[in-house]
């Protein structure tokens, strides 16, 4: 149950956070948070409102610089910068939707593959054949992802015209376009109906096995049914501290967790 304190061996792989602390002025948003996300695992991060979940994601993405602690990816020191994340094998979906409203759906997904685009400035300026070739390849790749998520029919539409659930799938497709080895999902079920959450659960469970990448997933989510059913392990944050870590069953049975949710039933607190 206690967070790992020893040196994670490089063979473990994946993302590892050690003793992460974040302060906003006098407010302690995170303190001494250590956790590990191994390849192929679906790791949940839960906690009451304001517990520091999104802040934790922001630390991993380089939007927030921690005042203490360090991170490693596959055993190597990791200093994240947002626009380098995809190159480091990490992709994130945003709380809400976060699509580009002025780009078509397929362009949104193509934008997600920016990291592998190689066309140089002058090739673009002169419309050299290589630029067209790459665009065609990226478009096909994006269409494949959209088809995989069952939203290929909307490829030419603009996101704002589409149902919320469809947009959330497109956001996942855009993240997948970066071919990540670690996916960070920030409240992917937020605003979805029961059926859509069911499908989302299946989708998340399928991510590690997808394309032989052995992708890891870090899931921040308030919807407890979903978290309990898809996660291999769960970390519980409360007031910026990690108060519990374990399998869904272990976490559910942990009195500290129940206390953090104000003594209420865990499933109730989720709603």
């Amino acid at each position: 149950m206690s967070p790992p304190t020893g040196d994670p061996s490089a063979a473990d792989g994946g993302l590892s956070l050690r003793d992460i602390g974040v302060r906003f002025g006098g407010l302690v948003a995170l303190e001494g948070v250590s956790l590990q996300v191994r390849p192929g695992r679906v790791v949940g991060v839960i906690g009451p409102n304001g517990a520091g979940k999104t802040t934790l994601f922001n630390v991993v993405c380089g939007f927030v610089k921690p005042s203490t602690g360090s991170m490693t990816v596959d055993g190597r020191p990791f200093q994240p910068r947002p626009h380098r994340l995809n190159a480091d094998g990490i992709a994130r979906t945003l709380q809400g939707v976060g699509l580009f409203d002025h780009l078509t759906v397929v362009e949104n997904v193509m934008a997600g593959a920016t990291n592998e685009a190689r066309t140089g400035f002058f090739a673009g300026l002169l419309a050299l054949p290589g630029s067209d070739r790459e665009e065609r390849r990226l478009r096909e790749f994006a269409m494949e992802l959209l088809a995989e998520l069952g939203v290929a029919a909307y490829a030419r539409a603009y996101p704002q015209t589409l149902p919320y659930a469809v947009r959330k799938r497109i956001a996942v497709a855009r993240a997948l376009a970066a071919r990540p080895r670690l996916m960070l999902l920030d409240e992917p079920a937020g605003g979805l109906g029961h059926d859509d959450i069911q499908e989302l659960g299946a989708l998340i469970r399928g991510l590690p096995a997808r394309g032989g990448l052995n992708c890891a997933v870090m899931l921040v989510e308030h919807h407890m049914d979903l978290v309990m059913s898809v996660c291999d392990e769960i970390n519980v944050l409360d007031f910026g501290r990690l108060i519990a870590h374990g399998t869904p069953a272990e976490v559910k049975a942990n009195p500290k967790v129940l206390e953090a949710y104000l003594g209420a039933d865990v499933e109730e607190a989720a709603a």
Partner: protein, 376 residues
Amino acid sequence: MTATEEVENTRTQGATTLARASTVRGGAFGRTLVRHAVYALVAIVVLIVLTSALAGTGNTFLNYQLAMVCAYLCATAGLTFLTGINGQLSLGHGALMATGAYGAALTIRALADRGIEAVWAVFVALLVGVLAALVVGAVIGAAAARLRGPYLAGVTTVIAIVVPAITTTFDGIFKGDQGLSFVTPSPGAVPALLSNEEWQAYLGIGCAVLVMFLLANLISSRFGRQFRAVANDEVAAKLSGINIARTQVLAFVVSAGCAGLGGALMAAITQQAAPGAYSLTLSLYLLMAIVIGGLGSLAGAVWGALLLVALPDLSTRITDSLELSPDLAQKLDGNLALAIFGLFLIIVMIVAPGGIQGLVRRLSGRLSARRRSAGS
């Protein structure tokens, strides 16, 4: 996953008309280069025909105006690319045009001092004008990449005021308020065949078509997508692997180069570079022109460039027809043009928020829809 797909399939049946998104236009015309080159050639042919037709009227001023439209088009196209597509507001493009104009003017004069008055001197001058604007654009762009919204507008406004002021401060080089004048070399050996104004028009056409061609290429490449993504949502753009600062500086430099070419052309056409022509008002005009034309659209930049020549001309005609005292007429001339522009901007924004090009697109869409329904 099959169950999911089934659900999705039934859910998306309404959108099957959109399902052909993966089909790519085939044939040679499907290639961006071929498509844009064909458009450029057609534009050149049409404009050459127009130039000779205008020359045929005997009114040489018309070809001078055509050349000026082309010079403005370089700048409006560059600005609509920066502001409409990349989302960076610049009130400093008048100053960038000034940079290009002075770069070109100094080059032509320096070459003339050495006895070089061949036609190629003009091309060298245009090139120097562009390079000067690229350098200034890179400096402003680097600062601009750290600024947003009102701060960016503020800094670029300062640039718009400072650059003309520099020309009056260092009047040893720039000759102060009265500016640099010179004779633009022209292929004058055959003046009977090619008037000076026709030559200017051809020069303008060449430059404007080149700018439109290159910008159209860039916009339809992956860079166009990145420019738009950055304008749309910076956090999402970063998370998509886009380097925001680099993208913004790139857009600013490209846009500055276009404005520089526009300014250099204007200098070559008017045979002078003087600070009065490149005041803050010019920057405002450029901005109004691209909004009226249709922000972010290259075709809209064409409308804007046309208006930049047509509306001041209209205001001159109005003041001329009013038979005012010369003093009042002069005062009115400059301000009336701005007032007409402002009025036009307000009207267009009410009638067509997408600008003239948005209106054109809507009308042509309605027309083709009617034709389709009539055909079936």
